[in-house]
Subunit: 295 residues, 2 copies
Amino acid sequence: MNAWKEGWFTEESNGLWDGESKNLKVKQVLYHKKSEFQDVLVFESESYGNVLALDGAIQATEKDECAYQEMACHLPLVTVGHEPKRVCIIGGGDGGCVREVLKHSSIEEVVLCEIDKEVIEAAKKFLPTMSCGLEDPRVKVINADGAAYLKQHKNYFDVIINDCSDPIECAQVLFSKDFFITCREALVPNGIFSQQSETLWLHLDFISNLKKDLEQVFDQAKYAYVSTPTYPGGLLGFLVCSTNPDMDPSVPRRIESWYNKLDEKTKDSLKYYTDKLHTASFHLPAFAAKKLNQF
Amino acid sequence: MNAWKEGWFTEESNGLWDGESKNLKVKQVLYHKKSEFQDVLVFESESYGNVLALDGAIQATEKDECAYQEMACHLPLVTVGHEPKRVCIIGGGDGGCVREVLKHSSIEEVVLCEIDKEVIEAAKKFLPTMSCGLEDPRVKVINADGAAYLKQHKNYFDVIINDCSDPIECAQVLFSKDFFITCREALVPNGIFSQQSETLWLHLDFISNLKKDLEQVFDQAKYAYVSTPTYPGGLLGFLVCSTNPDMDPSVPRRIESWYNKLDEKTKDSLKYYTDKLHTASFHLPAFAAKKLNQF
């Protein structure tokens, strides 16, 4: 654990944020295991609650995970034109996305395709506010390769959420055009795909190419971003993709049928997502709007 | 310089972001002086261009300063209902805000009230893309206390921008109700005041109290935020305040008369601000919207 210095965790660059790094003060290490796929670490931090890091990169902290998880799920789930019943999440072993998807009462089945069992084990033990939905009877956890699973489920899902880690090592394949084709084929007509898409400040060329790839596979792809203090660049984005040329993926179609009809408890559980923020998140800084041709 | 370790600059907490810190890799130190007021440092970083730090806290980097400076200026300047002629900037010695204010062709006078000469000197030498407007004949640089200067200019400015550093040490007074009253009195009718207001993720209680103070002095105050990768919390906000109960400070009144009429070169110089982002920046994450009662 060379990332530890005098009680601090340092998030060294994995090649995607060279020249900068972030330190979080550690209260105690809760879980640390080398799994078949990666280094899995959970520690209690001084100011961000419990923190999950994979291969040394922060994936989620209790303090700010609401931002990423809520937007990763509700952007596609509120965009889809019909009541979503079946959702597939690729990655996302911490369970935060499952928790959010279950806030849509129309959901009958959530498949979590997390290749690494150890991530789920760590989350169940030490990230209970994220993993709380994993025992729900509508949830099916598959410890398998996402692409292989989706190939067996053509024309099946209303929404697919690619909640993967950075495009290096084993996650690289989840940013490939082949994988996107598999996702599109696994969607029902008018289904929506959402792709974790890195940060505008650091990876704009990468995002621009990713968007072009997605636009070749899907009918439309639009970038939305969310404020994430513990990710490099301070924000993270999604490319939300539609399978219908007339379906703008930045339009929240289910505000009336979902958001406005939420019971008080569920609405209160949304710490980040709002109806207005949904639309606002697609309005990019000028430098990004120009590069991604999204005005 | 105890913040330096093996070629990295570490931004230690000044009490406002305990438990976390950020590291930037240093190519070379360009300027380092202990001024009458603070430690003034400019260094060339590996991935964010030249960086200005005051008392060890990052104020501006060439890579991302566009976000803060453009929004700090254009939010109030596009909100004001009339063509703004006179603007006062408190702090802002790097010159970035002056540069942005001058993009409004109606401007006749910009007063920069920067108490610390050394900041201006450092910026002129090593941050030319920020300080480029300081020699403009419409600009008046005053090395004096902002409050004292404004007290002598009642009913004078169309817009006042409080571009101050964190609310500690000598900047603390710039977050006081007495100072806000001085600002209100220095504004013409329907003038707009914009206050640097820290980050939602780390200082929500502080911001909530600040907003209440401002609402007692001004007629309305609304919080807007901007993505700032090099500030703790990954975002920074402004409380934009109006001096007219019918003037909502989140409404961009001069999109037609300013933004839509910009010549191509000036519009192209806007790296962050867009008309849509103006409105979007006031749509807060749910946790902040609730606390600040801003929906």
